[in-house]
Amino acid sequence: MKRLAGLIIVLLIVLTVSCYVSRMVPPQKNLHPLGEFYLQNSYFGRYSAKSPEAVTSIVWDYRGVDTLFETAVFFLAIIGSLTLFRLNKGQAEEAKRGEPKLELPGPVATVTKVTVAMILAVSASIALHGQLTPGGGFQGGSALAVAPLLIIAVYTKYALEKNGLDKTRAIIIRSIGLLGIALTALVPLLLGGYIMQNQPIFPAKALGVPLGGSLVFYNFFEYLAVGAGFTAVFLLLSIPEEKFRKFLGVRR
């Protein structure tokens, strides 16, 4: 009852304030000049990124350095998680010891197998069409990370590790992605441009669709980095609780 009263009071306050404010807020009908510049120039014009998707061209071209450093933040957050759960060699071996076990009824597992294959297809499509339609490396990578998560939920993490996707491999794939981003960002420097500049040496158009120069490369590498980074974290997070208590020496 007390909670309900609080809720009603908050709602009433919000309603009154918005009634009061509604006469003062300007109707937001026009674009900001900067937004208009991006819309005009993302495909046409002198400063074009050769991509019809304005958001992706901002993310990886006009504001590319921002994104580069945000990727660094992502990198550090994942590294931080891995450091918190650091295991020595023997502990890592023990964490991997275990048999894949089906935790849910048979039909669920069968449907999961098919769904995982389809999720991989969809995530690849999201990532590789980032310069044409909504989507891109970040979103595709997040979709990619769902596939190992489903497998962990249904078949336990040992099924992933038995078939070759363990934490080390996931970190290697992630490092390949980050290295790809760094190299693509450094290529323009060799040609006398700025870092991350979208130079004409990257293909503007191929196979009948605009590629947006370096955008497609950044999207692909970010896709690998985000997907594999989250996979590594999920693998660590799914180590059974009893094993971790033993590693930490907690008796409770």
Partner: protein
Amino acid sequence: MILLLWSFTLISLLATLVISVYGIVAKPNLVKKLIALTIFGDTANVLMVLLGYRLIYPVVPPILPSLSKTALGEFVKTAVDPLPQALVLTAVVIGMAVNVLIAFAIVQVHRLYGTVDARKVGEMLAAFGRGEK
């Protein structure tokens, strides 16, 4: 009417921000703090996307419908601002990674101290500092 709805959206988002800050500060449970933090981050993102919205009809996403120069004028007249969307896009994924990091820390705290209550953890740390354990 449109303006009322618009300001209601803005004010309720601001109220959500305030409530989630209260949640971060007032709740002693670390998991509840994390939940409040994610609500705070997501609300901030929605507010940011809303800054780029336009109160017109029809309004289209910032993607060129066709690769011809004739469609560009109409497109610029109806498309929303792409810049806030681009900034939010990266913030969402980074936010998720940072949330995973915090969730990890909370799990570890629970393993080591057997509780996720910030006050109890503080007491235990203080006792540990005095050398009692």
